[in-house]
Structures are given as C-alpha cells and as structure tokens.
C-alpha cells in the first residue's frame, strides 16, 4: 500500500467534514472548486451523488460525509469539491469546507485511535495534531478501493 505517511514531509490539504478535520495528500489534489449543481445518475448509491463537468472532463462526486458515516448536511457557501487524481482515477470529493495547505513532519503522525468506529477508521491512515485539534489523514488507497468495490 502506498502509505500516506511515507511522504516526507507530509504535505496535505486540510478540509472540514462535519466538525472534524481531515487531511488529503496535496500531491493528489488537482483543484478545489466551489460547489455547483451535481447531476445525479439514476440508480447510483447515495455515497456517489452524481457527476460534474470540470474543464471538459466528467468527474464522479463522492460525498465524504456519507462515506465517513457522518450523515447528510445542507450545502453552504463553504462547501467545496476537492478534485483529486489518485491511482489514475479522477474524483471530486464533496467536503464541508477547505481550510488550508499544511506541511507536517511525518514523525508527529500518530496511529488511528483504536476506539474509533471501524467503518470510519478504515479510511484513515493516522492522526496529527494541528492547532490543538486532531486532523485525520485520509487513506486514499482505501477510499479508492472501497469506491471500486462498494456493494
């Protein structure tokens, strides 16, 4: 597995989902876009609410709230689509807000707390402390694999 923590230092985009902070490896992030109308595909699961057109490409959208089992929320002015390319896959991640780009020394990455719900823990590669708050590092390998396999 291409471990997120193998990067030195750890360059990430910090996003907010619900009231929690998550980190996406910057190297995968192509663009951050404002929320716009998502075209639903009839018969698709709720975790994949539809598609968007971005610079001539048609991208699937993954709702990170639902993937992380955090429930639905209203779209706000802060809602963003984080466009990523990972393992030759293009995907738009729907998040509640984008905070900042940050760089962490890899040594400060801690393991995912054992008490965390397994459904969520599987998508996390570790945790770092950022301005007094925990930031969960998203495990894109697992995210992409789950989207490929989701029943």
């Amino acid at each position: 597995m291409a471990d997120i923590t193998s990067q030195r230092p750890l360059d990430v985009l910090i996003v907010q989902i619900e009231h929690e902070l998550y980190a996406i490896p910057s190297a995968c992030v192509r663009e951050v876009a404002r929320h716009r109308a998502i075209t639903p595909i009839p018969g698709a699961p709720r975790t994949l609410p539809g598609i968007i057109s971005q610079r001539g490409s048609i991208l699937p959208v993954a709702d990170m709230r639902l993937i992380l089992d955090l429930g639905l929320a209203e779209v706000t002015r802060a809602t963003r689509l984080v466009l990523i390319n990972y393992q030759e896959s293009d995907l738009a991640l729907l998040v509640d807000a984008v905070l900042d780009l940050e760089s962490f020394p890899v040594e400060i990455v801690e393991p995912v707390p054992a008490a965390l719900d397994l459904a969520r823990a599987r998508f996390l590669a570790g945790v770092v402390q950022f301005e007094g708050q925990p930031v969960a590092l998203l495990n894109l390998d697992e995210l992409i694999a789950s989207l490929r396999d989701w029943e």
């Binding site: 994949l48 598609i51 293009d90």
Partner: protein
C-alpha cells in the same frame, strides 16, 4: 441516433427517440388514458419522481413520452421537451459510478453547454416500472 432532451421539475435527461412510439402534450388524465386501450391500458409515471421523489412536477400541462412494451404502453410524463439532437457525443458514465448502479438505466452522459444530462435507457426504465407495478399488486 437522435436524442430528445426532456426536462422534469428539477433535472434534464436525454432519451433515445427510437425508444419512443410517440411524444405529445397531455393536459388531463383522460389524455393519458387515451394513449392505451381496453386490452392494453396505459401506465403513467412521472419520470422525474421515478428517479427522485423530490423531483415532482406541479399538476398541469405535461408532455407524454410513450414507450411501447409488449403488453401495454408505459407513459412517462415530463414538464417539457427541450430539444432534439442528432448524434451528439455521448460520454460513458464514470466507472466509479457505473460499477455501483443498482439498475442499468443510465447509458451515458451528454454535455449541453455547461450542463450535463444523463442519457436514459427509457425501455429499461419502462420494464422496471412494470416489475414494480406487478410487485405492488402482489403485495397488496
């Protein structure tokens, strides 16, 4: 291939003209009933609502898209017919989504200026409607 772009209350869809026996405006329930006959009564469905319960049109003038199945015509109601396109570029549904579709209703995607429209296999949807109706009858 000619695609017809139709609009529901919330969305627009592309439909293959070849899937339709007819498309025409309807004003009343009687207009819809008239699309069938005693042996083969028409079944009418709001296309938008079939896909998304929130996509519900207000009552009034509609356009009927008539799909002729073997036993009866299925009439899909939409708010309006926007345009017809001859051989537009059809893009595949992104693989992440295509692999997870619970029904094979989406054939692809077309771009309309800055918007997207899903190309629907309306015959497949019509078959699903019949199955659903049959199931409803069995459960009632």
């Amino acid at each position: 291939m000619i695609l017809v772009i139709v609009r529901t209350a919330l969305r627009q869809y592309a439909i293959r003209r070849g899937d339709l026996a007819n498309m025409l405006p309807v004003h009343t329930h009687a207009d819809i009933v008239a699309l069938g006959n005693a042996q083969h009564p028409a079944v009418s469905v709001e296309l938008g609502e079939w896909f998304d319960p929130a996509d519900r049109s207000a009552p009034g003038r509609r356009h009927a898209l008539v799909v002729p199945l073997r036993r009866r015509p299925i009439v899909f109601l939409v708010e309006r017919i926007e345009q017809a396109l001859e051989n537009p570029q059809v893009y595949p549904v992104p693989a992440f989504i295509a692999h997870h579709l619970r029904e094979e209703w989406a054939l692809g995607v077309i771009t309309l200026e800055d918007q997207l429209a899903v190309l629907i296999d309306l015959r497949a949807v019509a078959r699903s409607v019949v199955l659903q109706r049959r199931q409803d009858v069995l459960e009632s």
